[in-house]
């Protein structure tokens, strides 16, 4: 069992404000599973441009960020034994694809997401995760399959503007 606070999460993930979407890891069995928390607040920048007359639905947390937050939790599990918070060198974790991410219930400011991630399979440098996210006892997100792969950083930097040969 391992608990991680955000200072330790930042030594594992390269994401930073406003895209670091994991607040705490409450339980981890390396190579197996993890539970992480993300608190949603109306002070996140996504809410900044909302019109004062916007309806209740407008405050539902962006669906794609729920998926991102879950995937970052999976990223902590993936990179725990070999952390590299620098995206410019060494091996980096690339998000290969997702299948069947279902949104079951809206998430609102004030909610605390509990992401449950299980490593379902791994072969070579490729890892496959599944799991769900809860608010209280309600399942809000179900993730059937997320694929991540460790790849040389040059696969990313080689495609950057001004760095192509």
């Amino acid at each position: 069992m391992t608990e991680l606070t955000v200072d330790e999460i930042k030594r594992i993930l390269p994401h930073r404000f406003p895209m670091l979407l994991v607040d705490r890891v409450t339980e981890m069995v390396p190579g197996e599973r993890l539970t992480a928390l993300k608190a949603v607040t109306v002070n996140e920048p996504w809410y900044q441009e909302l019109d004062d007359k916007a309806p209740e639905e407008a405050y539902h947390y962006p669906s794609v960020l729920l998926a991102e937050s879950w995937c970052q939790s999976a990223g902590v599990l993936a990179a725990w034994e070999n952390p590299n918070p620098d995206v410019l060198s060494g091996q980096v974790m690339l998000f290969g694809g997702v299948s069947d991410v279902e949104y079951l219930h809206p998430v609102r400011p004030g909610d605390v997401l509990e992401h449950r991630v299980t490593l379902s399979r791994s072969f070579g440098d490729t890892l496959i995760f599944e799991g769900e996210s809860l608010v209280g006892e309600q399942v809000v997100l179900r993730v059937s399959r997320v694929t991540m792969a460790m790849r040389p950083a040059s696969e990313l930097t080689g495609g950057a503007p001004g760095e192509q040969s």
Partner: protein, 135 residues
């Protein structure tokens, strides 16, 4: 910031519909990924790459702008699949082609999309939409 929105989102731009898809071919949208997009500050410091989920978000907005059925209560019910094929960088333009179909034995709609940048295909994405009232 002077603009206001009626929904919250991590992306700053708004895809422009260049073909509503009412004819034979797919619907098409285009959006410039400005270097000032707020997500770049943290994804990643010193090496801005447009997050894969933000490509999905522009496809999501493109889908809502080209819905083949009326009503403003359609919502994203699932990301059925995504494959990320090449990164998107600040200043790139994302062009998305969207093909709509009905999901068998339900009232849901499926949107198959291909998002491309100057570097070729960025992502293949399948989204499912349902009416809010049907959930």
């Amino acid at each position: 910031m002077t603009t206001t929105r009626e929904f919250c989102t991590p992306v700053d731009g708004t895809p422009e519909v260049t073909d509503p898809g009412t004819g034979e071919g797919p619907a098409r949208t285009v959006v410039l990924v400005e270097p000032s997009e707020k997500v770049f500050a943290g994804h990643y410091p010193g090496f801005p790459i447009f997050p894969g989920v933000c490509i999905i978000e522009y496809v999501h907005h493109s889908a809502l702008a080209t819905l083949p059925e009326p009503g403003d209560d359609w919502m994203l019910a699932a990301i059925e699949s995504t494959r990320f094929l090449s990164p998107v960088f600040p200043g790139n333009t994302i062009t998305t082609e969207l093909t709509w179909s009905k999901v068998k034995d339900s009232d849901a709609l499926r949107c198959k999309a291909v998002a491309s940048s100057e570097r070729g295909k960025s992502a293949q994405i399948k989204l499912r939409f349902e009416r809010r009232g049907n959930r």
